[in-house]
Amino acid sequence: MKRLSRALLIAAVLVAGFLGAGAYQWQAGGAAFAQPAPARQVVTVRELVIVDEQGIERIVWTGEDARPRLVMRDTDLHPRAYLGFVPPAGEGKSAFWAMNLLDAQQPRAVWAIGADGGGSTFNLRDNHGVIRYSVGYTDQGNGGLGMKDTQGRQRLGLGMPAHAGYSLSLIDEDGQAIWSAPGHPAPHASREGE
Protein backbone atom coordinates (compact mmCIF):
# COMPACT_ATOMS: atom_id res chain seq x y z
CA MET A 1 0.00 0.00 0.00
CA LYS A 2 2.85 2.28 0.89
CA ARG A 3 4.53 1.53 -2.45
CA LEU A 4 1.31 2.25 -4.33
CA SER A 5 0.92 5.63 -2.71
CA ARG A 6 4.56 6.44 -3.51
CA ALA A 7 4.06 5.48 -7.14
CA LEU A 8 0.88 7.55 -7.33
CA LEU A 9 2.67 10.49 -5.81
CA ILE A 10 5.53 10.29 -8.31
CA ALA A 11 3.07 9.98 -11.19
CA ALA A 12 1.16 13.01 -9.93
CA VAL A 13 4.37 14.99 -9.76
CA LEU A 14 5.27 13.93 -13.31
CA VAL A 15 1.89 15.10 -14.59
CA ALA A 16 2.20 18.31 -12.60
CA GLY A 17 5.61 18.97 -14.13
CA PHE A 18 4.22 18.26 -17.60
CA LEU A 19 1.29 20.60 -17.06
CA GLY A 20 3.49 23.25 -15.48
CA ALA A 21 5.83 23.29 -18.45
CA GLY A 22 2.86 23.45 -20.80
CA ALA A 23 1.36 26.35 -18.92
CA TYR A 24 4.66 28.20 -19.07
CA GLN A 25 4.95 27.65 -22.79
CA TRP A 26 1.41 28.83 -23.35
CA GLN A 27 2.04 31.93 -21.31
CA ALA A 28 5.46 32.73 -22.81
CA GLY A 29 4.98 32.02 -26.45
CA GLY A 30 1.59 30.89 -27.52
CA ALA A 31 2.43 31.84 -31.11
CA ALA A 32 4.66 28.80 -31.33
CA PHE A 33 1.59 26.60 -31.25
CA ALA A 34 -0.65 28.59 -33.54
CA GLN A 35 -0.96 26.63 -36.77
CA PRO A 36 -1.07 28.34 -39.15
CA ALA A 37 0.32 31.58 -37.73
CA PRO A 38 -1.97 34.48 -38.60
CA ALA A 39 -0.42 37.41 -40.49
CA ARG A 40 0.44 40.18 -38.10
CA GLN A 41 -1.04 43.57 -38.93
CA VAL A 42 2.08 45.66 -38.41
CA VAL A 43 5.63 44.75 -37.48
CA THR A 44 7.94 47.56 -36.43
CA VAL A 45 11.69 47.06 -36.40
CA ARG A 46 14.84 49.16 -36.65
CA GLU A 47 16.43 46.81 -39.12
CA LEU A 48 15.25 44.03 -41.35
CA VAL A 49 17.77 41.47 -42.53
CA ILE A 50 16.97 38.77 -45.03
CA VAL A 51 19.53 35.99 -45.24
CA ASP A 52 20.02 33.29 -47.84
CA GLU A 53 20.27 29.58 -47.15
CA GLN A 54 23.92 30.00 -46.13
CA GLY A 55 23.02 32.68 -43.61
CA ILE A 56 24.58 35.46 -45.72
CA GLU A 57 22.85 38.80 -45.32
CA ARG A 58 21.48 39.49 -48.79
CA ILE A 59 18.96 42.24 -48.05
CA VAL A 60 19.37 44.80 -45.30
CA TRP A 61 16.85 47.51 -44.66
CA THR A 62 17.76 49.86 -41.87
CA GLY A 63 16.18 52.95 -40.38
CA GLU A 64 19.56 54.30 -39.32
CA ASP A 65 18.98 57.99 -38.67
CA ALA A 66 21.87 59.29 -40.76
CA ARG A 67 21.36 56.88 -43.63
CA PRO A 68 18.07 55.03 -43.98
CA ARG A 69 18.56 52.56 -46.79
CA LEU A 70 17.59 49.32 -48.41
CA VAL A 71 20.53 47.37 -49.81
CA MET A 72 20.55 44.15 -51.80
CA ARG A 73 23.83 42.25 -51.95
CA ASP A 74 25.27 39.42 -54.00
CA THR A 75 26.74 36.28 -52.48
CA ASP A 76 30.10 38.07 -52.04
CA LEU A 77 28.35 40.81 -50.07
CA HIS A 78 28.87 43.41 -52.80
CA PRO A 79 25.97 45.86 -52.81
CA ARG A 80 24.13 45.49 -56.13
CA ALA A 81 21.05 47.62 -55.53
CA TYR A 82 20.71 50.56 -53.18
CA LEU A 83 17.66 52.63 -52.40
CA GLY A 84 17.83 55.36 -49.82
CA PHE A 85 19.67 58.36 -48.51
CA VAL A 86 23.22 59.06 -49.67
CA PRO A 87 25.12 61.37 -47.32
CA PRO A 88 27.53 63.98 -48.71
CA ALA A 89 30.67 62.36 -50.12
CA GLY A 90 32.78 65.19 -48.67
CA GLU A 91 32.80 68.78 -47.57
CA GLY A 92 30.77 70.97 -49.89
CA LYS A 93 29.15 67.95 -51.52
CA SER A 94 25.42 67.35 -51.62
CA ALA A 95 23.33 64.64 -50.07
CA PHE A 96 20.89 62.69 -52.21
CA TRP A 97 17.96 60.38 -52.19
CA ALA A 98 18.87 57.84 -54.78
CA MET A 99 18.61 54.45 -56.30
CA ASN A 100 21.87 52.91 -57.46
CA LEU A 101 22.31 49.75 -59.44
CA LEU A 102 25.86 48.49 -59.12
CA ASP A 103 28.19 45.91 -60.57
CA ALA A 104 30.54 44.14 -58.18
CA GLN A 105 32.73 47.24 -57.87
CA GLN A 106 30.81 50.44 -58.51
CA PRO A 107 27.54 52.14 -59.44
CA ARG A 108 26.46 51.73 -63.07
CA ALA A 109 23.05 53.40 -63.09
CA VAL A 110 22.07 56.14 -60.67
CA TRP A 111 18.78 57.95 -60.23
CA ALA A 112 19.06 60.76 -57.71
CA ILE A 113 17.47 63.94 -56.40
CA GLY A 114 19.05 66.44 -54.02
CA ALA A 115 18.08 65.91 -50.42
CA ASP A 116 17.67 69.62 -49.67
CA GLY A 117 16.28 70.96 -52.90
CA GLY A 118 18.93 70.69 -55.54
CA GLY A 119 18.32 68.97 -58.80
CA SER A 120 17.31 65.65 -60.14
CA THR A 121 19.54 63.50 -62.29
CA PHE A 122 20.00 60.17 -63.98
CA ASN A 123 23.33 58.86 -65.13
CA LEU A 124 24.88 55.75 -66.57
CA ARG A 125 28.50 54.83 -65.89
CA ASP A 126 30.80 52.42 -67.64
CA ASN A 127 32.78 49.65 -65.98
CA HIS A 128 35.57 52.12 -65.11
CA GLY A 129 33.22 54.39 -63.22
CA VAL A 130 33.15 57.09 -65.93
CA ILE A 131 29.78 58.78 -66.37
CA ARG A 132 28.92 58.22 -70.04
CA TYR A 133 25.35 59.50 -70.10
CA SER A 134 23.63 61.96 -67.83
CA VAL A 135 20.51 64.05 -67.83
CA GLY A 136 19.40 66.36 -65.11
CA TYR A 137 17.90 69.61 -63.92
CA THR A 138 18.88 72.07 -61.26
CA ASP A 139 16.44 73.85 -59.00
CA GLN A 140 17.09 77.01 -61.02
CA GLY A 141 15.38 75.34 -63.94
CA ASN A 142 18.55 74.77 -65.95
CA GLY A 143 19.13 71.37 -67.38
CA GLY A 144 21.08 69.34 -69.80
CA LEU A 145 21.82 66.04 -71.35
CA GLY A 146 25.36 64.91 -71.98
CA MET A 147 27.31 62.00 -73.35
CA LYS A 148 30.98 61.50 -72.59
CA ASP A 149 33.75 59.37 -74.02
CA THR A 150 35.79 56.79 -72.13
CA GLN A 151 38.04 59.57 -70.79
CA GLY A 152 35.08 61.42 -69.33
CA ARG A 153 35.24 64.19 -71.95
CA GLN A 154 31.95 65.68 -73.02
CA ARG A 155 31.29 64.72 -76.67
CA LEU A 156 27.61 65.49 -77.00
CA GLY A 157 25.77 68.16 -75.09
CA LEU A 158 22.19 69.26 -75.14
CA GLY A 159 21.85 72.46 -73.17
CA MET A 160 18.52 73.45 -71.71
CA PRO A 161 18.90 76.76 -69.91
CA ALA A 162 15.79 77.97 -68.13
CA HIS A 163 15.61 81.30 -69.92
CA ALA A 164 17.29 80.80 -73.27
CA GLY A 165 17.04 78.62 -76.32
CA TYR A 166 18.03 75.00 -76.38
CA SER A 167 21.00 73.76 -78.36
CA LEU A 168 22.72 70.57 -79.29
CA SER A 169 26.45 70.24 -79.82
CA LEU A 170 28.90 67.60 -80.87
CA ILE A 171 32.29 68.16 -79.35
CA ASP A 172 35.71 66.79 -80.26
CA GLU A 173 38.23 65.36 -77.81
CA ASP A 174 39.77 68.81 -77.30
CA GLY A 175 36.48 70.27 -76.17
CA GLN A 176 35.76 72.18 -79.39
CA ALA A 177 32.22 72.20 -80.74
CA ILE A 178 32.37 70.66 -84.21
CA TRP A 179 28.68 70.76 -84.97
CA SER A 180 25.71 72.35 -83.35
CA ALA A 181 22.05 72.96 -83.86
CA PRO A 182 19.89 74.85 -84.39
CA GLY A 183 22.71 76.53 -86.24
CA HIS A 184 25.26 78.20 -84.06
CA PRO A 185 27.94 76.68 -81.87
CA ALA A 186 26.93 76.40 -78.27
CA PRO A 187 30.09 75.50 -76.41
CA HIS A 188 28.58 76.29 -73.03
CA ALA A 189 25.77 73.87 -73.61
CA SER A 190 28.18 71.03 -72.96
CA ARG A 191 28.53 72.09 -69.33
CA GLU A 192 24.86 71.87 -68.56
CA GLY A 193 24.57 68.16 -68.24
CA GLU A 194 27.31 67.80 -65.65
Partner: protein, 200 residues
Protein backbone atom coordinates in the same frame (compact mmCIF):
# COMPACT_ATOMS: atom_id res chain seq x y z
CA UNK B 1 20.72 13.18 11.01
CA UNK B 2 17.79 10.96 11.81
CA UNK B 3 16.23 8.39 9.52
CA UNK B 4 13.12 10.57 9.25
CA UNK B 5 15.12 13.56 8.04
CA UNK B 6 16.85 11.42 5.46
CA UNK B 7 13.52 10.15 4.18
CA UNK B 8 12.13 13.68 3.86
CA UNK B 9 15.22 14.77 1.93
CA UNK B 10 14.85 11.75 -0.33
CA UNK B 11 11.25 12.67 -1.05
CA UNK B 12 12.15 16.24 -1.85
CA UNK B 13 14.82 15.07 -4.30
CA UNK B 14 12.44 12.53 -5.86
CA UNK B 15 9.66 15.07 -6.28
CA UNK B 16 12.07 17.60 -7.80
CA UNK B 17 13.44 15.04 -10.25
CA UNK B 18 9.94 13.96 -11.21
CA UNK B 19 8.98 17.58 -11.92
CA UNK B 20 12.05 18.03 -14.09
CA UNK B 21 11.35 14.81 -15.95
CA UNK B 22 7.73 15.88 -16.51
CA UNK B 23 8.77 19.28 -17.83
CA UNK B 24 11.42 17.69 -20.02
CA UNK B 25 8.90 15.29 -21.44
CA UNK B 26 6.60 18.14 -22.35
CA UNK B 27 9.34 20.06 -24.07
CA UNK B 28 10.55 17.00 -25.95
CA UNK B 29 7.08 16.04 -27.11
CA UNK B 30 5.38 19.36 -27.76
CA UNK B 31 7.49 22.42 -27.69
CA UNK B 32 8.91 23.88 -30.93
CA UNK B 33 12.36 25.45 -31.16
CA UNK B 34 10.70 28.80 -31.86
CA UNK B 35 9.69 28.86 -28.24
CA UNK B 36 13.31 29.58 -27.38
CA UNK B 37 13.62 32.63 -29.62
CA UNK B 38 14.53 34.84 -26.73
CA UNK B 39 17.38 32.62 -25.62
CA UNK B 40 19.09 32.51 -29.01
CA UNK B 41 17.57 34.51 -31.89
CA UNK B 42 17.13 32.09 -34.78
CA UNK B 43 16.52 32.95 -38.41
CA UNK B 44 12.79 33.26 -38.98
CA UNK B 45 12.11 31.26 -42.10
CA UNK B 46 9.02 33.15 -43.06
CA UNK B 47 6.98 35.94 -41.64
CA UNK B 48 3.64 37.17 -42.87
CA UNK B 49 2.63 40.72 -42.11
CA UNK B 50 0.33 43.28 -43.66
CA UNK B 51 2.79 46.08 -43.09
CA UNK B 52 6.40 46.35 -42.09
CA UNK B 53 7.69 49.59 -40.60
CA UNK B 54 11.36 50.45 -40.16
CA UNK B 55 12.07 53.03 -37.46
CA UNK B 56 15.19 54.96 -36.55
CA UNK B 57 16.84 55.19 -33.15
CA UNK B 58 14.21 57.72 -32.08
CA UNK B 59 11.38 55.47 -33.22
CA UNK B 60 10.49 57.72 -36.15
CA UNK B 61 9.21 55.79 -39.16
CA UNK B 62 11.88 55.80 -41.89
CA UNK B 63 10.66 52.96 -44.04
CA UNK B 64 7.43 51.19 -44.88
CA UNK B 65 6.75 48.04 -46.85
CA UNK B 66 3.10 47.50 -47.50
CA UNK B 67 0.42 46.95 -50.06
CA UNK B 68 -0.85 50.51 -50.45
CA UNK B 69 -3.92 51.69 -52.36
CA UNK B 70 -1.73 51.83 -55.46
CA UNK B 71 -0.19 48.42 -54.92
CA UNK B 72 2.83 46.92 -53.19
CA UNK B 73 5.42 49.55 -52.34
CA UNK B 74 8.67 49.97 -50.49
CA UNK B 75 8.75 53.53 -49.15
CA UNK B 76 11.69 55.31 -47.56
CA UNK B 77 11.05 58.45 -45.55
CA UNK B 78 13.14 61.36 -44.33
CA UNK B 79 13.45 62.37 -40.69
CA UNK B 80 10.19 64.32 -40.94
CA UNK B 81 8.33 61.28 -42.16
CA UNK B 82 7.94 62.54 -45.74
CA UNK B 83 8.11 59.82 -48.40
CA UNK B 84 11.23 60.45 -50.51
CA UNK B 85 11.77 57.21 -52.38
CA UNK B 86 9.28 54.61 -53.52
CA UNK B 87 9.78 51.36 -55.33
CA UNK B 88 6.85 49.30 -56.44
CA UNK B 89 3.48 49.76 -58.10
CA UNK B 90 2.87 53.44 -58.73
CA UNK B 91 0.28 55.61 -60.41
CA UNK B 92 1.92 58.46 -62.28
CA UNK B 93 1.08 60.85 -65.05
CA UNK B 94 2.97 60.07 -68.26
CA UNK B 95 2.78 61.19 -71.86
CA UNK B 96 0.62 58.20 -72.60
CA UNK B 97 -1.93 58.59 -69.84
CA UNK B 98 -2.61 60.91 -66.90
CA UNK B 99 -3.00 57.86 -64.70
CA UNK B 100 -0.43 55.33 -65.77
CA UNK B 101 -0.29 52.32 -63.50
CA UNK B 102 3.26 51.08 -63.52
CA UNK B 103 6.03 49.39 -61.63
CA UNK B 104 9.05 51.51 -61.01
CA UNK B 105 10.92 54.00 -58.94
CA UNK B 106 9.68 57.40 -57.78
CA UNK B 107 11.82 60.01 -56.01
CA UNK B 108 10.05 62.93 -54.34
CA UNK B 109 11.53 66.13 -52.93
CA UNK B 110 10.95 67.57 -49.47
CA UNK B 111 7.97 69.59 -50.74
CA UNK B 112 6.19 66.47 -51.90
CA UNK B 113 6.87 67.20 -55.58
CA UNK B 114 7.63 64.15 -57.68
CA UNK B 115 11.03 64.73 -59.33
CA UNK B 116 12.07 61.51 -60.99
CA UNK B 117 10.38 58.32 -62.04
CA UNK B 118 11.21 55.38 -64.22
CA UNK B 119 9.63 52.06 -64.87
CA UNK B 120 7.34 49.94 -66.96
CA UNK B 121 3.56 50.16 -67.30
CA UNK B 122 1.64 47.41 -65.60
CA UNK B 123 -0.16 46.52 -68.83
CA UNK B 124 3.07 46.51 -70.84
CA UNK B 125 2.07 49.52 -72.91
CA UNK B 126 5.00 51.72 -71.96
CA UNK B 127 8.45 51.84 -70.43
CA UNK B 128 10.33 55.03 -69.77
CA UNK B 129 11.58 57.69 -67.49
CA UNK B 130 10.48 61.22 -66.51
CA UNK B 131 12.20 64.10 -64.74
CA UNK B 132 10.19 66.96 -63.24
CA UNK B 133 11.63 70.24 -62.03
CA UNK B 134 11.08 71.70 -58.56
CA UNK B 135 7.79 73.23 -59.73
CA UNK B 136 6.48 69.87 -60.81
CA UNK B 137 6.83 70.68 -64.51
CA UNK B 138 7.79 67.76 -66.69
CA UNK B 139 11.16 68.64 -68.23
CA UNK B 140 12.48 65.37 -69.60
CA UNK B 141 10.80 62.26 -70.80
CA UNK B 142 11.98 59.24 -72.67
CA UNK B 143 9.95 56.18 -73.43
CA UNK B 144 8.74 53.54 -75.81
CA UNK B 145 5.27 52.14 -76.29
CA UNK B 146 4.16 48.63 -77.14
CA UNK B 147 3.25 49.90 -80.62
CA UNK B 148 6.92 50.52 -81.33
CA UNK B 149 6.70 54.28 -81.03
CA UNK B 150 9.07 56.12 -78.83
CA UNK B 151 10.97 59.27 -78.26
CA UNK B 152 12.74 61.69 -76.09
CA UNK B 153 11.34 65.09 -75.20
CA UNK B 154 12.82 67.99 -73.30
CA UNK B 155 10.53 70.74 -72.15
CA UNK B 156 10.97 74.29 -70.92
CA UNK B 157 9.92 75.67 -67.55
CA UNK B 158 6.34 75.97 -68.85
CA UNK B 159 6.26 72.34 -69.90
CA UNK B 160 6.40 73.14 -73.62
CA UNK B 161 8.38 70.71 -75.72
CA UNK B 162 11.47 72.51 -77.02
CA UNK B 163 13.53 69.58 -78.20
CA UNK B 164 12.39 66.17 -79.27
CA UNK B 165 13.66 63.03 -80.87
CA UNK B 166 10.94 61.01 -82.48
CA UNK B 167 11.42 57.31 -82.87
CA UNK B 168 8.53 56.21 -85.03
CA UNK B 169 8.98 52.73 -86.45
CA UNK B 170 7.37 53.37 -89.83
CA UNK B 171 8.13 56.99 -90.65
CA UNK B 172 11.74 57.13 -89.50
CA UNK B 173 13.52 58.90 -86.73
CA UNK B 174 13.69 62.66 -86.48
CA UNK B 175 14.96 65.42 -84.27
CA UNK B 176 13.70 68.97 -83.83
CA UNK B 177 13.92 72.15 -81.85
CA UNK B 178 10.86 74.31 -81.26
CA UNK B 179 10.46 77.82 -79.95
CA UNK B 180 8.18 78.82 -77.10
CA UNK B 181 5.25 79.20 -79.53
CA UNK B 182 5.59 75.66 -80.78
CA UNK B 183 7.06 76.67 -84.14
CA UNK B 184 9.81 74.43 -85.45
CA UNK B 185 13.20 76.14 -85.41
CA UNK B 186 15.23 73.27 -86.74
CA UNK B 187 14.41 69.84 -87.97
CA UNK B 188 16.43 66.86 -89.23
CA UNK B 189 16.34 65.06 -91.46
CA UNK B 190 14.99 67.78 -93.77
CA UNK B 191 12.20 66.92 -96.17
CA UNK B 192 14.78 66.89 -98.93
CA UNK B 193 17.03 64.55 -96.97
CA UNK B 194 14.21 62.24 -96.14
CA UNK B 195 13.18 61.71 -99.73
CA UNK B 196 16.63 61.68 -101.28
CA UNK B 197 17.71 58.47 -102.99
CA UNK B 198 19.85 56.36 -100.71
CA UNK B 199 23.29 56.67 -102.27
CA UNK B 200 22.21 55.07 -105.50
Amino acid sequence: MTMRTLRICGWIVAVGLAGLVGGGLFVALWASPAAYAEAEPPVTERMEVHELIIVDARDRPRGRWAVTEQGPQVILMDAEGRPRARLGQLVTETNVSPQTDWYGLLLTDANGTDRLTGGAANDGSLSGMILWDHNGVKRYGVGFTDKGNGGLSMNDTQGRSRFAIGAAPHTGYSMQFKDENGDTLWYVPSRQDRFAPRGE
